[in-house]
Symmetry: C2
Subunit: 274 residues, 2 copies
DNA sequence: CCGACCGATTAACCTATGTTGTGGCCGCCT
DNA sequence: AGGCGGCCACAACATAGGTTAATCGGTCGG
């Protein structure tokens, strides 16, 4: 992995880390990405970054902290669609819609970068590989939602819970936020319940079962997964849907346009084995 | 709506109809779209167009017939993620992934167009508005999955079922496949059950309740919705998530690149009110 | 230090939905 | 014609998960 010592700080952006797990970015692309993340704001916990029904504003990149994407029924019942972690993007395709059909709310204090949606189009034109990497990230998010749908429709409470924990572990690992099996889960049981389509009480029962069976440990917000293998097996976790495999060759053919000369020779060779 | 009598046949493509509900396409774009749908195949019912774990092939456009997108657990439990209707696209971002995390299976005989994934990139470069319209269609699909997640997590069986029927009615209306409240539902109760996360028996009970309350009628595969309003209210249906509103102005700014000269003057004015 | 509130925990009870099993209809095969 | 398989229908029973309610330990503002 090419790493210019001078620009090292850029390398540690969660989005950069995530995209790097997919393809190797050139210096130029890295710089462009850094520029996208230039305008940074901080928000306290329990802030709405976006509200159901509201018009979309800028595209946001979460740089630090947790948030949830959720939808509510008029009578107050709520479903958490997904967790938004560092390196995740909010409203990537916001230009396409008039208004948001979901809300995004911070769970912790959060650091967010934002940029105007026009830059997405700009990126598709000038940095197609980078745009493809962002599209990958978006498509992956959709795949996670579909997988959660499978959970809610066909997995038992125990399976769902196990599955979610493994998923979070995997996602956090990519951005260096989980070290051998433990991570911080800044989430109340109510939110877990809303994510898994269960009642608070039942989530509590289920977590107790997982603890009693020794698969996980909970100390405050720190969760430790003692045996990922076994937990994954309980949750029927098949990581296919996370699409963590390196970009296939044909990506180049599809997204790198003729007017974008190849400035990634080294990395291309790098990836030949995939 | 501008309609050249000579090219009328092109207008009736379901995908064209769907995209037209979003933005007005130019003649040039219409021709490009027609070209994408040039290679056509027919498949019988119960054919897998795509299998979980398999490598992606071409991008497909359903021109006629129904299919389902579904995921399965190793032990056979199955969740239908979404229904694939005429005008829907399969594997739009397939280049980005190594292999499919879901299957697509036909329910009826089906007519599908297919084209190599490279053309998506080509379209982003040469017909950005059209590409944006396809991206809209994709993002909308994701929104539907999220809404179904809300259903499975937080709606009761009766609500879910009502919601799904209204959703299908709306989607089919866009492609002229539903006329005042009735349409063909080529779907067994088993498939409905798998779509709604219920057992066959319970779907049966639930449909009977809807029939008994006079909200719907079923004759074979023909379903008639007697009172959409009331059914929508039972299902807490809020069509926000279908994003049927015309494209907002700023789409142009974001996606229409400088090198694609505006060849849609008339339609642009057309849309100014939005 | 006090009161108020929030979140976790657990028990007791309840119900929406799952399971099992039977029968009936219809289309298809031979 | 007869038999078979797929699908619908419905009844009887079983249970996963929901609801209600009570307790407890923190923590925060004053």
């Amino acid at each position: 992995m090419t790493r210019a010592p001078a620009s090292r700080a850029l390398d540690t952006t969660p989005l950069w880390l995530k995209l790097s797990s997919y393809l190797v970015l050139s210096e130029e692309e890295k710089m462009y990405l850094a520029d996208l993340e230039r305008t940074i704001a901080r928000e306290p916990p329990r802030t709405d970054l976006l509200q159901q029904g509201e018009k979309y504003r800028d595209v946001r990149i979460i740089r630090d902290g947790w948030a949830i994407r959720h939808k509510a029924l008029p009578d107050g019942r709520r479903q958490v669609v997904n967790f938004v972690l560092p390196g995740d993007i909010i409203g990537m395709y916001c230009t396409l819609f008039e208004s948001a059909d979901h809300s995004v709310t911070t769970l912790t204090a959060v650091e967010v970068a934002s940029f105007p949606p026009e830059r997405i189009g700009e990126m598709f034109r000038s940095f197609p590989r980078l745009a493809a990497a962002l599209a990958w990230s978006g498509a992956r998010e959709e795949a996670m939602v579909a997988e959660r749908l499978l959970s809610l429709g066909r997995r038992t409470a125990l399976e769902r819970t196990a599955h979610l924990i493994v998923e979070l572990l995997r996602r956090l690992s990519v951005v260096n936020m989980a070290t051998d099996g433990h991570f911080v889960l800044p989430v109340t049981q109510e939110i877990l319940a809303d994510a898994l389509g269960l009642s608070i009480v039942h989530i509590n029962r289920t977590l107790r079962r997982l603890r009693d069976s020794g698969l996980i440990e909970l100390n405050g917000q720190r969760i430790t997964v003692n045996d990922v293998r076994q937990l994954a097996s309980v949750g029927q976790f098949d990581e296919l849907y996370l699409h963590l495999i390196r970009v296939p060759k044909r990506l180049e053919r599809a997204f790198a346009g003729p007017r974008h000369q190849n400035n990634n020779k080294r990395e291309d060779d790098d990836r030949a084995k995939a």
